[in-house]
Each structure stands twice: as structure tokens, then as C-alpha cells.
Symmetry: C2
Subunit: 187 residues, 2 copies
Amino acid sequence: HDRNNHFTRYGDRGMTLEHEINESNQYYLSKGMAVIHKKPTPIQIVKVDYPKRSAAMIKEAYFRKASTTDYNGVYDGYYIDFDAKETKNKTSFPLSNFHQHQIDHMKACVEQGGICFALIKFTLTNEIYVLESNDLFYYWDEQFKGGKKSISKPTIDKLGYKIDYSLNPIIPYLNAVRKIILKYKEI
Amino acid sequence: HDRNNHFTRYGDRGMTLEHEINESNQYYLSKGMAVIHKKPTPIQIVKVDYPKRSAAMIKEAYFRKASTTDYNGVYDGYYIDFDAKETKNKTSFPLSNFHQHQIDHMKACVEQGGICFALIKFTLTNEIYVLESNDLFYYWDEQFKGGKKSISKPTIDKLGYKIDYSLNPIIPYLNAVRKIILKYKEI
Ligand SMILES: [Mg+2]
Ligand SMILES: [Mg+2]
């Protein structure tokens, strides 16, 4: 029985990354370890029907761009805020996966003492990394000063925290959050 | 020029409480004072059309009950989480304005060191109070042990923090949050 292989396969059982994170958050919540939720998708509602004796039905609505990140909550007294991104790239993470307003949002949260990061999944190899927002900000800002439009995988491997798929939670990303918190406590 | 009266009228200019809070959050964000947002309304999407050359259109969807509270974010290193409730009652706040899962959510957040509260508006008198979650929990739990199904206005006035309508932000509720944080620092 190849334990590593067994765990690795959790990543390609057909669960989406969002589903994997939601399951992990559910585990953390059930164990009283953290309260972190995905925000609902923002929708612009145009037309609603109110039929008698049944629930209001939305007949016309459109997806809106989220102005913040997808996940936030609280862990051990810290405000946690992150976005999850998948890439099919093998060698780098394209910065175009982020939008300026998401970066602005995370910068504002960091200013207030929040812990922010990107949870990046390389889908072809099923590898997941937590990349702290300050590292993300650096490469984000550099691209406008002639820097690359992506962060190379070796850089992510060096600066980020690799998260191995696990049984419970599926993606134990709080391990990385703990290390980030410790790092700032030491400064 | 009656300054107080001028300020008081902000509350009944036709803005909803949600709009007033969103404007206040926008002010706090623009001043770098806090990052607090309303979560989007959760929607269950049933049918989506993908017309060529135009945006995806949701043709059938339903409102879902929120499993958490409406607002959260970060202020001065603290995780902030609250719900806003309006009542037309003059003498008390009916606990039926809350749902068990919202209380459970706030209890879990408090366990993690978050600052949680209810922002309660008495719409007939345009009075707003911040009631700390621990006080809310007490009366919530008491109702199942033979206690009242509501919290009297004098009790809210005694335990809560009255927030006067202001110009900028319209509802300066961080003043109450600061007092709550100080209270816990002193313990
Ligand atoms: Mg995302
Ligand atoms: Mg509400």
C-alpha cells in the first residue's frame, strides 16, 4: 500500500479545488480549529418572480466579478483571507490569474494585520502551495516595472509552503498558516 | 442649525440599513481604517444560459438561507463579524430576528478570538445599538430555559453601545468595536 500515492490521488478524484477547500474548511470548523468560509458568488439580480405558495424565483441574473477574495475567516485570533487559483502551467504561475482589485483587497487586509495568501494548485501535477501575500505582492508589482508576468515554479517552491494532500482535512493549509504566523511573531 | 437633528435625519433618508452600513464600510476602507464587507446573498443556481457573444445569463435560481452572518472583515488585527437587524418594535428586540445557525457561527468565531456583535436598529426611533455577541448569547440561550423571547430596550441600552448617526461614516460602529476590544484587553 503506497501511502503517498493514495494521498496524492485525493487531488484528482474529480473534486474541484473549491470543493476540496470547502471540505477542509468543514473539517476545521467541526474540530473547532478555525472558522473559514467561501463567500457566495456575487450575482446581479434583474428579475424575480414571486409565485403564490412557493419560493421566490430568480428569472434573470448575471454573474458579477468578485471585488475581494473567495475565502475569509478567523483562526487563533487572526483574520485569514485568501484566494484559490488553479493553473495548467507546469513551470510557472501566471499572474493574470489575479486581478488588481483582489491584490488591493489583500494589501488592505495585511495593513489591518490580517494573514493573506494565495492557495495555488498546479493541476497537472496535483501540487498545492500556499504563497504568502507579501511574496505575491512583490511579483505582482514587479510585472509593471518590467518584471515577468508569472512566478516560476522554483520560486514558488522556495518561497511558498507546499501542502500535501491528506485524509482529513484534504488540504491541511492551516499548517502553512501556522508557519506564517510564527514567522511574523519572530520578527 | 440643529446639528443633532441633522445627523439624526440621516437615518430616515430612505437609505436601507444595509446601504448605510455599506457606505460606512466604504468610508472605513477608503480611510484605511478597516476592511469589512457585506457577503453576497447566497443563491442556488438551477439554470444558466450561455448565449454567444454575451454574458452568461442565470435563468432559474433561488435565494438560500445564509449559514453565517452578513458582514465580516478585519480591523486593527482583529477579526470582525456581525449581523445587522432591524425591528419595528419600540420596547424590545425579538430574538426571532436571529437564527440558531447565526448564533452558532458567532459562537465559533468568538472561540477563535473574533469580535462579534449584532448591530440593531430600532427603525421607529432611528436608534442604533451595537450589542456584543456574549450578551446576545446569554439572552439567546435563556429563552430555551424559560426566559423571554426578546431583549428589552432598557437592557440593550444598558449592555449595548448606542451609535449616533453621523456624517462620515454614517454609522460609526467602529467606536463601539474599539470599546469592546479595550474591555477584553483589560480582563
Ligand atoms: Mg478564486
Ligand atoms: Mg442581516
